[in-house]
Amino acid sequence: MNTQVSLDLKVMLETQGLCKYWGGLKALDDISLQFFDKQLHGIVGPNGAGKSTLLNLLCGHYKPTRGSILHKEEAIEAIKPYAFARRGIGRSFQKTNIYPGATCLENCCVAVQRRMGGSFNILRSRYTQKVLDEIASEALEKVGLGARRDVVASQISYGEQRQLEIAMVLATSPEVLLLDEPMAGMGHEESQLIIELLKTLRREYCIVLVEHDMDAVFELSDQLTVMVDGQHLTTGSVDQVRDDPRVKEAYLGQGDEVF
């Protein structure tokens, strides 16, 4: 790998020869990557490159056909999906995935309560734990939804729902953030908001960002991986990747996006 990373960076998440086959289709073939703490790792590639599949494997939603996933040097590919979140691997979804009938605050409270405990307490009221509300509010403030905390999630705008999506992940206090196209379907101004948010977050967490908005990815990424047809094409700094002839070919060959 032509990655140049200074030695003091800690590997948070690592994949080794990760494969996912759907019958004969190789959705993901032999992917070995390292994701570092307090770095933003962008993943780009044409449609069907296997970016979402990779995220779904990293968060435990799918089980890999072969290969392993290491979190802090421990193999975790065999653990249950919910256990990924408990280890601090949080994800947001490409398609907005929230609790539309609950308030923004309640959405985040569900996330916070997982860590705070008491979820098996059938007697104590859910409305009495002030600390929980505070942490949930904090997460909302962080993404700029502080003013919307008591509004029902189905009533806020699409862009705000995308922000809420991220707030919910933050509320679980993760170490790793897996973000699946957080800017999908957003207008320019809304995207800008998310970009600003990610700029503040990328020095606090290990972030894996799958995104179609190339400008955003180039602006944000510390490292960049390009994937094509389920294969790993290259990984490197933004400049390295931008100048890689294979990358240009891959994109031009597809005929959609050009740098």
Binding site: P81, R91, I98, Y99
Partner: protein, 320 residues
């Protein structure tokens, strides 16, 4: 606040005082007292089903299995000619039913949606044929309970179960407690996760919850209460028979839950009273009551979009 909706509070303050005073008006008419008692017992059963279906999103057609089990369990574990303590046996029956529900839930809850309906139905039918085909359990005729339990706590006896009015109050108290219990449960942190799972199970898993455990716990709680309702039914009529376990029992309970307003809990009481009330009236008007009953149910389900409770809320919540 325990009841977060105004409608619910109004219902609470209308229904329970009325129910409390009712036997005073009907003092001579033990038939009506008994009729109301049996409706309240079934309302308790419907309430436990309503929690499962409406709050947890676990649609089951086998809930009657626990209703019947409550009755059969009492026959099995209580001595035949000796009065046992009601409270102790309530505890036993709920615990045994919970243990059974733990095992069955463990299998059933691996599926969801239509598959879960089929599997719960299969389990209930197995139980139904087991009890109706076995001679030891009286076959299709069922069994008689000769001696009713006594209800003393520390030597103090409040209810005489042979007295219809006393039994009425015991059932009213049970219904009241169950309603309060479910409200506390729904308001709790456990209830928060249950609501989250109902609304978006995938997301709840992604947040780190093992949703299977929460569903299993809910299933066990609802089943134990379903068995308690069956136990009360058996005590009221002094017999237990396989029709309690029939899928039609689950079916009508489901209709009552939908009619009352799924997931509202107090709607279970409304649904059961409206259904049984209509049943009673139509039965006395015409032989073909089932035809009219069916038509009325269809009409009501279509008019009341979210059940009677939902329509009442629409009417009453606007003005707040």
């Amino acid at each position: 606040m325990l009841f977060n909706k105004r409608t619910e509070r109004i219902f609470f303050w209308v229904f329970f005082p009325l129910a409390l005073l009712m036997p005073l008006f009907l003092a001579e008419n033990t038939f009506f007292v008994s009729k109301l008692t049996s409706i309240m017992i079934f309302a308790l059963f419907v309430m436990s089903l309503d929690y499962l279906v409406g709050r947890c999103g676990l649609i089951t057609l086998g809930h009657a299995m626990f209703y019947g089990l409550g009755g059969y369990l009492f026959w099995m574990i209580a001595p035949e000619y000796e009065a046992v303590n009601f409270w102790v046996y309530t505890f036993y029956i709920c615990m045994i039913a919970a243990a059974v529900a733990l095992i069955i839930g463990f299998l059933v809850l691996r599926t969801s949606g239509i598959y879960m309906i089929m599997i719960t139905l299969a389990f209930a039918q197995m139980a139904f044929y087991f009890f109706s085909d076995s001679i030891e359990f009286g076959g299709t005729d069922g069994l008689f309970i000769y001696v009713k339990p006594e209800t003393s706590i520390f030597g103090l006896s409040f209810f005489d179960l042979d007295n219809p009015t006393h039994f009425y109050y015991l059932c009213l108290l049970s219904l009241f407690n169950t309603l309060i219990f479910f409200r506390i449960l729904i308001r709790s942190r456990f209830g928060r996760v249950v609501d989250a799972i109902h609304e978006n199970p995938g997301r709840t898993t992604a947040l780190g919850y093992n949703i299977f455990v929460f569903r299993l716990m809910s299933y066990v709680i609802a089943s134990a209460l379903g068995a308690y309702a069956g136990y009360l039914f058996t005590l009221q009529y002094g017999f237990v028979n396989p029709s309690m376990l029939a899928w039609t029992t689950s079916g009508s309970a489901l209709v009552m839950s939908i009619l009352g307003g799924m997931g509202s809990i107090y709607g279970a009481i409304l649904g059961t009273f409206v259904y049984e009330g209509l049943h009673y009236v139509l039965e006395h008007l015409t032989e073909h009551w089932m035809l009219f009953m069916g038509a009325l149910i269809i009409a009501m389900v279509m008019v009341f979009k979210n059940g009677i409770a939902g329509s009442m809320e629409k009417l009453l919540e606007k003005r707040t």
